[in-house]
Amino acid sequence: MEIKFKINGEMRTAKVSDSTRLLDLIREDLGLTGTKEGCGEGECGACTVIIDGVTAASCLTYAYQINGKEIFTIEGKNSLRDLEIIEEAYVDAGAVQCGYCIPGMVMSTKVLLDNNLKPTRDEIRKALEGNFCRCTGYVKIVDAVELAAERLREMRCK
């Protein structure tokens, strides 16, 4: 079937089969390989994208289900400046090791900070509970989210 959607600020149409996963549409058809496949079962969060302002596992979403919706992936940093700021905070806080989980982490962070620009460390951990990192032990990831929140607050106050 043919679907129409907005991705990273741009209107697109695509032909998808009934069983195509959103993850495959994004990576294979649109060539946006920043979104990663980890477990393929919704456990790890590497494939997290933003659909109409909330996070979803793109491996557990059918491509046809985004018909008429607005999607952001990690490549959206050109149209969504917050993503760039969050990504930089991850780098500056030393939260990135192998990097595989980071696109998903950044998407979850973006939605958290949209709703709460001054989260506690517990709130950050709760918000990122669906994102696995097998390298860092999460301390620096929580630091990164705090740093991103601080930078976004400063930016908004200017």
Binding site: G42, V54, A57, Q65, A127, E129, G130
Partner: protein
């Protein structure tokens, strides 16, 4: 290739329901995993996500009604749920992760009929009813009667779950929910407990208790409820109730925990009512 129908209204949905040949889906968070791992057969689907009429939570004088295709995260943060049934919000919050709760629905959780379904546990003690809709009309079934066993429900061939209703009498009860598992997110319970109770001068006037993951379906403990009624809420009575609970549960050994450990967890969980 399985085909999919995406109705936008009840009028489009109802004539197409045929549960023997087609599968009604919403969040798809369990179904996609099931189909890809070949645990579930690939069938034509009817995706009810876009049926706007039921994507609502509303109340009348007696009950709160939750549309079956409302994502779990919307249920958690809904004002009516927060005000009347914080226990349900807490139970749902323990399901999956945020990414899953943004897609998964209460209707789907019920239709899956998992013995460890955490929302079902809360709905059981809150005496929820499942409202089923077909071209023939509506019928209401108690949640405990609707769920027949692991993965089995009383859903008839031409029906779908339209709403879940919860009586407001329980809105002034105290509640407690706890799930014991191996990590905080994405956990399948080792054991879980939901309780609602009403206290007067520290005497238990009414109490509903249910356990999850320790029997083929959610376990209601009427004997324990009767034992505790009109008794004082204290350690002695709860310890005695724990012994009764230990004799009533029938957990299994599996990769997550041994039956013996699960039984001990069940006995201990009831003590949480006194912190």
């Amino acid at each position: 290739m399985a085909e999919v129908l995406v109705p936008k209204t009840l009028a489009e949905l109802l004539p197409n329901i045929n549960n023997e040949e087609k599968r009604i889906t919403a969040g798809c968070t369990d179904i996609m995993v099931g189909i890809r791992s070949r645990r579930m057969a690939s069938k034509p689907m009817i995706d009810i996500n876009e049926v706007e009429e039921i994507k609502v939570i509303y109340e009348d004088d007696y009950s709160v009604y939750i549309g079956s295709n409302v994502p779990l995260n919307k249920v958690i943060h809904n004002e009516l749920i927060q005000k009347n049934f914080p226990l349900l919000a807490k139970a749902i919050e323990s399901i999956g992760s945020l990414q899953i709760r943004n897609r998964a629905t209460l209707g789907g959780n019920i239709q899956n009929a998992s013995p460890s379904g955490d929302s079902i546990l809360a709905l059981t003690v809150l005496r929820a009813k499942v409202i089923l809709r077909s071209l023939r009309g509506r019928r209401q079934v108690d949640i405990t009667e609707f769920i027949k066993g692991p993965g089995r429900t009383d859903l008839r061939n031409d029906e779908f779950i339209e709403y879940i209703s919860i009586p407001k009498v329980f809105s002034n009860y105290q509640g407690y929910f706890e799930k014991v598992g191996l990590r905080n997110a994405m956990v399948i319970s080792i054991a879980s407990m939901a309780v609602v109770y009403k206290l007067e001068n520290n005497i238990i006037k009414d109490i509903n208790i249910a356990y999850g993951a320790v029997a083929p379906k959610v376990l209601q403990l009427t004997e324990v409820e009767n034992f505790l009624k009109e008794k004082e809420l204290n350690g002695e009575n709860l310890t005695a109730a724990g012994e009764l609970i230990g004799r009533n549960v029938s957990p299994i050994d599996d990769v997550r925990a041994s039956a013996e450990y699960r039984t001990q967890v069940c006995k201990n969980l009831i003590l949480r009512l006194i912190g």
